[in-house]
């Protein structure tokens, strides 16, 4: 984590240089297609065709794989247990003591895991290759209020400081003899002496931050100039439109698939 830019990984690649909205639209369309097209393996196919090659070109594939696995494995385990073992009815593939593994539940678990892998890896790809300040600027230029960009970006700046603060308070209270290990009751009792100083200290800071903003004409109406300049090309704009048209076609087709048997 590099503070201001979220998960951004600095690399000199064409993907990193693309306009933030191009990457945002691309990832969203990949997600939509993978989730909407019926079939157990469709999320995996979109992953292999849509996400993996782009991550490879952007030289962030190892990071994407590592962190996707970290999130997806607990989901996969839960899905196999909850859906595979407790599927009502269904064909039994294997008896495991008092439980039985059902084919339908397993297929459901495979598809669910694929959807999660696709969502997590697509999101990571966007975050590793796009600076959050550039993304927020791009969204502001499309009509997102400036105050929202301010809130998002300044939160990203504040959080590392807060995490340090939380650790400092934890150390300080422990060195004064606060028990933070032991039975449930002991740990519960440690909660307030840790939470209250953090909260009071930071709430008192709010006013100062507000004054600092006002002094810099934060609430002034009218256009604002940004130090960042985003590069967009006509080609990228065309690509974005094509992607969005494609997504709408998939939504329409999926809706037709859902509607047709109900009308017949």
């Amino acid at each position: 984590m590099s503070g201001t830019y979220g998960l951004y990984v600095v690399r000199q690649t064409g993907i990193h240089r693309l306009h933030p909205l191009t990457k945002l639209v691309y990832v969203l369309v990949c997600l939509l297609i993978g989730w909407l097209i019926p079939g157990v393996w469709s999320p995996y196919i979109v992953l292999l065709i849509g996400v993996v090659p782009v991550a490879l070109i952007a030289r962030v594939l190892p990071e994407v794989i590592k962190n996707t696995i970290k999130t997806a494995i607990p989901f996969a385990i839960s899905l196999i247990i909850v859906q595979g073992l407790f599927w009502t009815g269904g064909t039994i593939v294997r008896q495991l003591g008092p439980f039985s593994l059902k084919a339908e539940g397993l297929l459901f678990a495979i598809r669910g895991t694929g959807r999660i892998i696709l969502a997590v890896s697509g999101f990571l790809l966007l975050n590793y290759t796009t600076r959050s300040d550039e993304l927020m600027l791009a969204l502001s230029q499309k009509g997102l209020p400036n105050s929202i960009s301010y809130v998002v970006l300044s939160t990203l700046q504040v959080i590392p400081r807060f995490q340090r603060k939380a650790n400092t308070i934890l150390d300080a209270q422990r060195s004064r003899g606060l028990e933070t290990e032991g039975s449930y009751l002991i740990r519960m009792r440690a909660l307030m002496p840790l939470v209250v100083p953090l909260l009071l200290g930071s709430i008192v800071d709010i006013e100062e931050r507000a004054i600092a903003l006002e002094v810099r004409a934060f609430s002034r109406e009218g256009a604002k100039t940004s130090l960042l300049v985003l590069h967009d090309t006509r080609f990228q704009r065309a690509i974005r439109w094509l992607l969005m048209l494609g997504a709408m076609a998939v939504i329409g087709w999926r809706f037709y698939l859902w509607l047709a048997p109900r009308l017949a």
Partner: protein
């Protein structure tokens, strides 16, 4: 409209980043203490209480999105952003009726918010993730499922097992913080008269 403009004052906008950072930092402390709670919406509840339902809802919404950006996990964050928004919104509504002035009303408001939160999360867990959240909580879902309960009902009960208690404690902590803060600081917020 006039009211809304006052709610979204500079001080409210300066408060939202702090509130989101509080959500994340307290969530971390709870994890360090290995407590079976989340307490990851204390900041959101605080904003709802002192700046009204709409600022509270915005804080919850952004909190979950930023959580995803910081930790790189979209699964348990972005899809539940509407739930987080509802928590901030409800905190604002309860505050409007003075429920943050009496400790047991704050606890009750938190518990009600927890029930609403589990009602809203169950369909998200069910339709998006096939009924699991990828944590130890799934054991509860599996247990209800093995009793022949529908997946959606099992998800709702899994939420009920944790959310009302978690939100009741969060609301109580916000109540205590409001009592501990000098009036001078509370007066800066747009809904100060509701909590003082």
């Amino acid at each position: 409209m006039e009211r809304l403009k006052r709610d979204f004052s500079t001080i409210s906008l300066a408060m939202i980043p702090i509130a989101i950072a509080i959500n994340i930092a307290v969530g971390q402390i709870v994890k360090a203490l290995r407590l079976p709670l989340y307490l990851d919406s204390i900041g959101t509840v605080f904003v709802g209480a002192v700046a009204g339902p709409w600022v509270g809802a915005l804080t919850g919404l952004l909190s979950n999105i930023i959580w995803a950006i910081i930790f790189g996990d979209v699964t348990n964050t972005v899809p539940y952003a509407p739930v987080a928004a509802a928590i901030g919104f409800l905190a604002g509504v309860f505050s409007k009726y003075g429920w943050f002035k009496v400790w047991w009303k704050a606890v009750l408001g938190g518990a009600i918010t927890g029930v609403v939160a589990s009602l809203l999360s169950a369909p998200i867990t069910f339709y998006l993730f096939g009924g699991v959240v990828g944590t130890g909580m799934d054991i509860i879902t599996a247990a209800f499922r093995s009793q022949g309960m529908s997946m959606l009902a099992a998800n709702f009960l899994q939420g009920l097992a944790t959310d009302p208690l978690d939100k009741a404690i969060s609301f109580l902590i916000v109540y205590l913080i409001l009592r501990a803060l000098p009036d001078r600081y509370i007066d800066r917020f747009s809904r100060a008269e509701d909590v003082r």
